[in-house]
Each structure stands twice: as structure tokens, then as C-alpha cells.
């Protein structure tokens, strides 16, 4: 019985960690849907957004005012990215856009540290990161209150974004833009506005992800590395599916924790860094477009 409860604890903890990975991966999906490019700068956007948020609060702006100010800043970053990085590269290859996002990552990382300094900050969202007492008392299973709240926040964001892309004209335009910039523009889809909107939305997703991760681990440069956690989620879920990254996040979170706890000791531990990538490779062999990704058929 104790073993079963421990297994459940590992599983639940993994699933909740997976939701946090999905939150990071969401930003990638948004950009990929709009411009068919893997946004290398997503981790830097997370860092830039939350560091700016905390920085505004240090300037004396209260929490609830700093939040919209940072949202406006991220919208501005999205607009600037469209104007200065993407617009000059319309109709360029996907590889060119990828390189541009690598450059953008360096700029954002440097700008964040230039503006706000390099000190590690604490961000208190008022959500306790301690086990839920009633669950611990009744079952002996420890599940953090913070993780549950983060899961709810991620779920709300996913539903909102899924509705945005499936029920609105913006979503339709987004899919057209992803298929071909020139073709979308030729039928009157406003490419610039779509890109601007998507990058701004990705910035807001980055802010939410950064706030949750920053509250758990401190607001600091290491947040840029979170992008590493999103890659296997994207491969498994598909680069273009919002629900896909949620399912994949749960799969990655649960599998890596179970693997680390039950298989890790046979390999000297530390296998959760690469075990999700092994899973991703297996998915690539059987479903290269991911669980919910769009299957591309190209004439050759």
C-alpha cells in the first residue's frame, strides 16, 4: 500500500510538473503557428518578462499595476520584434527566421540584465509552496498547493488560446500565415498584424510562465534554460497544437519523474535530463508530426 501511494505521489507530482512545462511550450507553439519557426528566444522572453515585472515592482509600482505595465511592455516587445526582426525577413527561409530568433535571444538576455541588473530576486505571489495539509493527513501523499494553482492557471490559458485559434478569424488567419506568407498576404490576410498579435500573446504567455517559475525558484538568469524542458514536449505534442502540448507536457512530466525514481538508480541517477528526449525520439519514429501536429504532405 505504501508503495502504491508513493507511486501515486510520483505520478501526480510529475503530471503537475508537466503542466508547468506545457506553459513554457505554449509560447513556442504560438510562434510556430504564425511563422513556422522554432523561437529560440522563448526562454529569454520568459526571463525578460518576469525580470521586468519584478523590476517595475522594485521601482515602487504595486503588484496589480506592475502586471498590466509588463503586459504592455511585452506587447511592445512583440511589435518591435515584428517591425525590426520579422518584417525584413518576409518570405525568407525558415532557417533564416530561426537564426533571427537566436539573435533575438541574445538581445533580450542582454537587455534584461542591462536594464534590471543581475541580482537574483524573490517573487512572492502569495501562493504557499507547501504540501496540501488535508491530502497529506488523509492519504500521506504530498502535493504542493502551488503546483495545483499553477495547473489551474495553465489550464485556463490553454482553453483561452485554444478558443482564440479555433473560434476566431485571427486563428484562421494564423493558420493561413503558417502555410505561406505570400499566399496569405495575396488573399488579404494582414500578415503584420497577425505576427504582431502572436508575438505579443507569446510574450504574455512568457510572463505568466516566468511568474510561476520565478515564484518557485527565484527570478534569475537560469529561467532561460527552461526552454530545454519544452523541446521534448513540442516534439511529442506537435509544434502546432495547443492541446497537444498539454497532453505532451503531462506525458513528459509523469514519465521523467517515474523514470528518475524507478529506473534512475540503475544508471547512477540524473536520467530525467535525457529520458524525455528518448521518449521524443520514439515518438519521432512513429509519429514525426507529434500527437496532434499537422501532417504536411509536400509534392516532390
Amino acid at each position: 500500500m505504501a508503495d502504491l501511494l508513493f507511486f501515486l505521489e510520483v505520478l501526480i507530482g510529475g503530471l503537475l510538473a508537466g503542466v508547468m512545462y506545457s506553459l513554457i511550450a505554449l509560447g513556442f507553439v504560438l510562434i510556430y503557428k504564425a511563422s513556422s519557426v522554432f523561437n529560440f528566444a522563448q526562454g529569454a522572453m520568459v526571463f525578460f518578462a518576469v525580470l521586468s515585472f519584478v523590476g517595475f515592482m522594485e521601482l515602487g509600482i504595486p503588484f496589480w499595476a506592475a502586471l498590466p505595465v509588463t503586459v504592455v511592455l511585452m506587447i511592445f516587445v512583440g511589435m518591435a520584434t515584428e517591425r525590426m526582426v520579422l518584417r525584413p525577413l518576409v518570405n525568407q527561409s525558415e532557417e533564416t527566421l530561426l537564426m533571427a530568433t537566436i539573435g533575438l535571444a541574445f538581445v533580450l538576455e542582454g537587455m534584461a540584465q542591462f536594464l534590471w541588473g543581475v541580482e537574483v530576486r524573490r517573487l512572492d505571489l502569495g501562493i504557499p509552496d507547501v504540501p496540501m495539509a488535508w491530502l497529506a493527513d488523509t492519504t500521506g501523499i504530498f502535493v504542493s498547493v502551488f503546483d495545483v494553482v499553477a495547473g489551474v492557471v495553465a489550464a485556463i490559458m490553454v482553453i483561452a488560446l485554444a478558443l482564440l485559434f479555433s473560434k476566431t478569424k485571427v486563428g484562421l488567419g494564423l493558420r493561413a500565415v503558417a502555410d505561406g506568407h505570400a499566399a496569405a498576404m495575396s488573399i488579404g490576410i494582414p500578415l503584420k498584424q497577425i505576427w504582431m498579435l502572436v508575438w505579443a500573446t507569446a510574450g504574455i504567455v512568457a510572463l505568466v510562465a516566468g511568474m510561476l517559475w520565478g515564484a518557485r525558484n527565484g527570478v534569475q538568469f537560469a529561467l532561460v534554460w527552461l526552454a530545454l524542458k519544452a523541446l521534448p514536449v513540442l516534439i511529442i505534442g506537435g509544434f502546432t497544437s495547443v492541446p497537444g502540448v498539454i497532453i505532451a507536457g503531462l506525458i513528459v512530466g509523469a514519465s521523467e519523474k517515474l523514470a528518475e525514481v524507478y529506473i534512475g538508480p540503475y544508471f547512477g541517477g540524473g536520467i530525467e535530463l535525457w529520458s524525455p528526449y528518448v521518449l521524443a525520439v520514439i515518438f519521432l519514429m512513429f509519429r514525426p508530426e507529434g500527437l496532434f501536429g499537422e501532417k504536411h504532405i509536400r509534392r516532390v
Partner: protein, 452 residues
């Protein structure tokens, strides 16, 4: 127009940010009189990136002390001059910085190189003898370099990880009421999955085995922002103590928040010197309260030297720290301790080689380093009594006192909760060092230096 406080932030940080972006080497020398003798020192700092909290504090302490010495007339009239190069705590960049910083703008060869990190130290350690530069590992790096006969150019003057783990176990034994009560106790060594994380294991395995303890080794893959699986294993193991060997504020803060999530008492969690500073504790919030951290240089502003630097250097607006409140904190005081040794070694070298008032060479500096004798009286003269343990170095013995003090985070600052303590059996630790160094010498056809 930017708010004033934002401008205050921007100005000092900009130099570091641009330095990192362009890998520039920026001369940071203090203005000196044209005719004044100079002594050039390399400063391979890490001011941006994930290890910036450590780098800004440590190298800030070093630079503040050199500025202070210069403002007081230098070392017998010889003024410090230095150059910085941004490594971002990256071993490859550390090698590049070593090459860039080797010779200063005045044509002098640097006397010292201090990487503030084991990966960087391992990357350049074999260049030291060739270039005649002292690798000053201040409480980090290759442990068996404490044997000066095999590693004549490398020092570990703030003591090494094997002494540190011995001290921690001794502290735990005291908490448990004696070594005899350690039998049957379980300890988890939770460490970053790297050579640094595994560095204390040879000593730890031996001591825990001798004491009849059960040692469980659990590794965390870098960068360590996610430690749930490891802490779940700890919850299942139900250890009596956990030693945490992390690097970088992200990993270090996460260790404490995860301990809180699993209900593991922080009063049973003991952090490594490079895992626990104010920058690691504050982001973890209440979860950090009660955590023990080992110190090789005790934090605090009450030491006369720290007060004097605040008064003279910061009073004159020449301080290196963007946030002067960090003066006296863990990393700044550690940097101060390192720089005091540099100055002491130069002073010794001038005396030994009859070069008072003149710059010294790398070989002379090494002689001066080996002649360091930090007696209680000398520490008193320097104004750092109680900040570092008294110690003496020699040709054979390149490690410091082998003693540390235990600190405990009270939610706002560190309380010092022990006196200077060493490992339970220093002779065994020394033997371990000599055996390891001897093995290295044998494998690499090195003839140990004759110190007699």
C-alpha cells in the same frame, strides 16, 4: 526620461553586460602616478548569466580590496593594476580569458588566476606551471592540489572540499550527541551531476563507512531547476541528514523550496560553501529558514577591514558593488579574503626577494604565497579576526586551515552557530590528498618537488 533609480541600475550594470556581449577585455586599473610601480593582476570575473550573483560579489570584494590598498599607498608603494574579462562561469571562456589576461597593458605577466569555479580551474590548471602563474583556488577546485610537491603552482588556501565534508559530518555528530550516535544514521548526498558534485565523495564514503552510517548518493542533472524526483527519493529514503552540493542560485534555491514541499526539515539540510549565500537564500523565501551553510569566510560588516573599506572606498564613491548593501555578505567577504591573501603573498615576495617597493614575478609571488602565515596576530593587524581561520602555508602544504564555521539562515541573515571546526581526522584527509596527488604524479610522469 528614465526614473533615477533605473538610471542608477543601468549605469553600473551596463559595463558588465556589454563586456559579456562582446567578450571585451576592459582595463579597470586605478589611476596611478606615472612613476609609481605597478603589479598587474588578472580578474576573470563572471558578472552576467546564471552565476552572476556569485561573480559580482566575489570579484567585487577582490576589486574593492585592491582599490583600498591603492588608496592607502599600495604594497610598499607598489600599486595594484588589473584587467577584467567576462567568463560567464564557462570553462571554455575561462581558457580564452586566461590567454587574454595573461599579459597586462603595462607588459607585466599576471601573478595570479582565480576562476571562482571548479570547471574553470580544471580547464586551466595544466597551464599554470608553463606560464608561471599561481592558480589561487579559494575553497574550490581540484582538491589534491593541496599537495604542493605535485602542484607547485596551485593553492587551495581557503581549504578544500574534503576538509569541508569532514567538518560537516563532525558538526552533525555534535548535533546527534557524539560520533557513537551516528551509527545506523542515514545521510543523503544530493549533488549536481558533475565532477564538482562528486568531489567530496572519496572522503565522505570513508568517514560514513567508518562511523557505520548509510550513505545514499543522489544526483541532480544540471541546471537543477527541477528537483522533484530527487526530493521524492529523499522522502522515501527518510534520511537523518542531507548534504546539498549545488551550483548557481537557481539550483540552490530550488533545493530548499523542494525540501519544504516534501516536508523535510531545513535544520537537517547542510549546504556547501558555494551553495548558500544571501542570493541563494532570499529567492527561496521562508523555505530557506533553518538551512545550514558552511563558511570559509564569515559574512558580516563588523570586521574593522570591512568597515574601513566602506568608509574609504565607498565613502569616496569608488566601490565596485552596484548595490553597496552587498558589502559584507557571503560572496563579497569571500572575495575580500582571497584578495587579502594576494596582497599578503606580494608583501612576502617583496621581503623574501629583497624587492620592497618593486613589482615581483610569478615565481617570486609563489614563494610569497607559500610563506603566508596568518597568525591570530596578523589577522588582527589586517582587521579580519574571526572572518577567516588562522592558517599557514608551506612548500608542501598548499591548503588552508581545513576549518570552517557553520552558519544558519534565520530568514533574514545568517547566524554563526559554530566556532571554527575541522574534519574529525585531519591526518586522514591529508593522507587522502597525498595519495591522490601521488597517483596523479605517477600517471603523468611528474617528479614531485623536493621541499626539504
Amino acid at each position: 526620461m528614465m526614473p533615477t533609480s533605473l538610471l542608477r541600475r543601468v549605469a553600473p550594470v551596463s559595463a558588465a553586460a556589454f563586456a559579456a556581449a562582446a567578450m571585451l577585455v576592459s582595463p579597470m586599473a586605478m589611476p596611478t602616478e606615472a612613476q609609481a610601480a605597478e603589479q598587474y593582476m588578472a580578474v576573470p570575473s563572471s558578472r552576467v548569466g546564471p552565476f552572476s550573483a556569485m561573480g559580482t560579489g566575489y570579484y567585487g570584494g577582490i576589486i574593492d580590496y585592491m582599490t583600498y590598498v591603492n588608496m592607502n599607498g599600495g604594497i610598499n608603494g607598489v600599486m595594484f593594476t588589473w584587467q577584467e574579462c567576462e567568463t560567464e562561469y564557462n570553462a571554455k571562456r575561462t581558457v580564452e580569458c586566461f590567454q587574454r589576461l595573461l599579459t597586462g597593458p603595462n607588459g607585466q605577466r599576471t601573478l595570479v588566476f582565480d576562476t571562482l569555479g571548479t570547471p574553470g580551474a580544471y580547464a586551466v590548471i595544466n597551464r599554470m606551471a608553463e606560464e608561471e602563474v599561481v592558480l589561487a583556488q579559494y575553497g574550490y577546485g581540484r582538491t589534491d592540489a593541496a599537495d604542493g610537491t605535485v602542484w607547485p603552482w596551485v593553492f587551495n588556501a581557503a581549504s578544500h572540499y574534503w576538509s569541508q565534508i569532514g567538518m560537516k559530518l563532525k558538526f552533525m555528530a555534535e548535533q546527534e550527541g557524539g560520533v557513537e550516535n551516528m551509527k545506523g544514521k542515514k545521510i543523503v548526498h544530493l549533488h549536481i551531476d558533475s565532477a564538482y558534485g562528486r568531489e567530496p565523495l572519496p572522503a565522505m564514503r570513508k568517514i560514513t563507512s567508518d562511523w557505520g552510517m548509510e550513505l545514499v548518493e543522489i544526483s541532480i542533472p544540471p541546471p537543477g531547476l527541477e528537483q522533484q524526483s530527487q526530493w521524492l527519493q529523499i522522502r522515501r529514503e527518510r534520511p537523518d541528514w542531507v548534504t546539498f552540493w549545488g551550483a548557481g542560485s537557481g539550483m540552490n534555491a530550488t533545493g530548499m523550496t523542494n525540501a519544504a514541499r516534501m516536508g523535510f526539515p531545513r535544520e537537517r539540510l547542510v549546504y556547501v560553501t558555494f551553495g548558500g549565500a544571501e542570493e541563494d537564500m532570499v529567492p527561496a523565501g521562508d523555505a530557506a529558514k533553518g538551512t545550514f551553510v558552511v563558511a570559509n569566510a564569515v559574512p558580516g560588516r563588523d570586521f574593522p577591514l570591512v568597515k574601513s573599506i566602506l568608509d574609504k572606498v565607498y565613502g569616496a564613491g569608488k566601490g565596485n558593488m552596484e548595490n553597496p548593501d552587498r558589502v559584507g555578505q557571503v560572496y563579497w567577504n569571500r572575495g575580500l579574503g582571497a584578495a587579502v591573501m594576494w596582497a599578503e603573498a606580494i608583501r612576502n615576495a617583496q621581503r623574501i626577494h629583497n624587492k620592497e617597493g618593486q613589482p615581483v614575478t610569478g615565481a617570486e609571488f609563489r614563494d610569497g604565497y607559500e610563506a603566508i602565515n596568518m597568525t591570530p596576530e596578523r589577522l588582527e593587524e589586517l582587521g579580519i579576526t574571526g572572518m577567516v581561520a588562522p592558517f599557514a602555508l608551506s612548500c608542501e602544504k598548499h591548503d588552508g586551515a581545513g576549518e570552517f564555521r557553520m552558519m544558519q539562515w534565520n530568514g533574514e541573515k545568517f547566524d554563526i552557530v559554530s566556532d571554527w571546526m575541522g574534519p574529525p581526522d585531519p591526518t586522514f584527509i591529508r593522507q587522502l590528498v597525498e595519495d591522490s596527488a601521488g597517483k596523479f604524479a605517477g600517471e603523468n610522469n611528474i617528479t614531485p618537488k623536493n621541499c626539504s
